[in-house]
Symmetry: C2
Subunit: 356 residues, 2 copies
């Protein structure tokens, strides 16, 4: 995994800023929180003061920002005083409790948990797709979608605009970093045990992931879908503003540290050829086309990790479509910690406050 | 990986046999060839004489069968004299050359390569699905389907019979053992390098698979599909004897040593509930139902490796189906070396010669 060190430590100071913001990062010691700090810095977000917050357990730790070590404070009402931007990635429970507090204190709140995503008074935003939805926010809170959904809608938006997507089949190949730092450490320990021929211990994982696959998100007993799958259904509809889009998801954890992949087949109302899709995606914001499959060029999680762009390849006619129907298959890979979480949150703040 | 040692060495001798067969295994030193020898032994196939054959490069090696070391002979016309059953797993080139020779010598030929699968005069057989198709074989050759296709059709056959499947979406999570012993050794070497933080070498793999995903089957330039994907389309249709079934496949190699997994969504002509599907699959030949997802029970590749049965779980309504349409999603895991290759070939011989 990446260290907490600055990659471009001087970036913050290389632009003349007219306005700077006091920014809180809640959950600053987690994988996504640390990525949020790095992203603010790398993108030269105009920060006047950084306020790293976490649970009392993690308070007192140091995080790195703009070349300095900053002490993590415990979350409290007082901690949000004067905060203008609050980026949350501390889990649904703390978000339910503290996002309204931060909003009441006047902050623009972007929450990465699932707590507020389906609240009708909370916009669910991916800037490349629906930044305008975030301009109206009755609760002062904007929700960051699930990582798997973000990369899906970024890649599908240009195709939806061109041909109107009616149905999405998606099977995911999700990296363990989405489950947090403890899960990453446990996968790495399991891989060492596997390589050494030792007994494999679960650690912070719900089973053996090294050399194996797991499907261990929380199960909705009514549908027997994993909550991760339900998120892909309902968040996709909300972001596209179209409740008629039908989504058939299967989400799977694979022994990959970082970078989610998705095998996707779409049905569209109007015809769209692979060539047209490639031309649209080559110009699409937030997308990098990696599609020369006859030459062996296609996205891999190793390519995506550390990149801002969602990588798209393997665009091809769906050979399984019905006569007269329209459809494509494609392969979408993204850095689940960056665009799938931290970057998207920072981009929402940029879009609303800086007009970027 | 499994050793070449006998698991139940006495099985061959525990039944009174009325008729025994001289059996050749071509490609006897490969992963599938060794699995064929083990499978013949474990299932007490009535062998009067075993003839392990391979390329001249591998001739002279010893393989284990029924408690004895047997020397591998080079493939030749003479080697098939008197052979009554010839199981081939030596690649498409050798199969094209030698299957007709073995058939001409009078052997029942079961070929595991892709050489003959789409030949209209060669039946493509999965005993649980279409053993009868193998009773007519103008060329004396029966083709064993692709590993990914076998486990798919075994699991879907009871649902197809009950509700008529019209469409299949399938994304695979394929183990590296399907690419041969060299690929397995290279993945294990890569995993050691990854665990030790060393540079990762490709070895016999087409890229870095440890901690990553690859899509490196041969590409069909006309469709930009991988040949593995096209096999799943055309072999499924041939086995089900229904050219109208529409299949949308994506095949992906995952860092798993053995055991292929498949995320599948089907559309059916008639209604079928998850409960009905479970009841059918609980009784289906070659299937083991592992489906109590609310209790965390679902198939994993680690469960499937070493098992004869195709494991099926996560049976659920397809929440993405159109109003009035019918469909299910499910998760299918199988041992690609056993049912996906060796076991299926032996079962074809059993079905035709022993009436098992």
């Amino acid at each position: 995994m990446r260290s907490g060190l600055t990659r471009r430590p001087t970036a913050v100071y290389t632009r003349a800023m007219t306005r700077r913001f006091k920014v809180a990062v809640v959950g600053a010691t987690g994988l996504v929180g640390r990525e949020m700090l790095r992203t603010l810095e790398e993108r030269a977000f105009p920060v006047s003061e950084i306020v790293p917050l976490a649970s009392p357990r993690s308070a007192g730790m140091l995080v790195r920002f703009a070349g300095a070590d900053v002490e993590v404070q415990p979350v409290s009402e007082a901690a949000f005083e004067g905060v203008e931007v609050a980026l949350f990635s501390a889990g649904a429970g703390p978000s339910r409790e503290w996002c309204p507090v931060a909003a009441k204190a006047g902050a623009l709140v972007v929450d990465n948990s699932s707590a507020w995503r389906m609240d009708p008074d909370v916009p669910l935003c991916v800037p490349e797709v629906n930044l305008d939805a975030a301009r109206t926010r009755p609760k002062g809170i904007i929700a960051n979608p699930n990582c798997s959904t973000i990369q899906l809608v970024v890649a599908l938006k240009p195709l939806h605009d061109a041909a109107k997507i009616t149905r999405i089949f998606v099977a995911t190949y999700q990296a363990v970093s989405g489950a947090g730092a403890g899960a990453v450490a446990s996968l790495e320990a399991q891989q060492r045990q596997l390589a050494a021929g030792q007994p494999i211990e679960r650690g912070a994982l719900p089973g053996i992931l090294a050399g194996n696959l797991l499907m261990s998100w929380k199960v909705d007993p009514a549908t027997l879908y994993q909550e991760e799958e339900l998120k892909m259904i309902y968040e996709t509809r909300k972001i596209f503003g179209d409740d008629t889009i039908r989504v058939s998801p299967t989400t799977v954890r694979v022994p990959v540290v970082n970078g989610h992949s998705e095998a996707v087949t779409i049905e569209t109302e109007r015809a769209i050829s692979p060539e047209q899709a490639r031309a649209l995606l080559a110009l699409a914001p937030g997308v990098e086309l990696m599609d020369d499959f006859a030459q062996g060029i296609y996205p891999q999680p190793r390519d995506a990790s550390g990149k801002d762009a969602v990588l798209v390849g393997r665009i091809r006619d769906d050979l399984g479509r019905a006569p007269g129907a329209h459809g494509l298959s494609l392969w979408i890979v993204g850095d689940n910690l960056r665009k799938g979480a931290a970057l998207n949150a920072v981009q929402i703040a940029e879009g609303l406050l800086l007009g970027r």
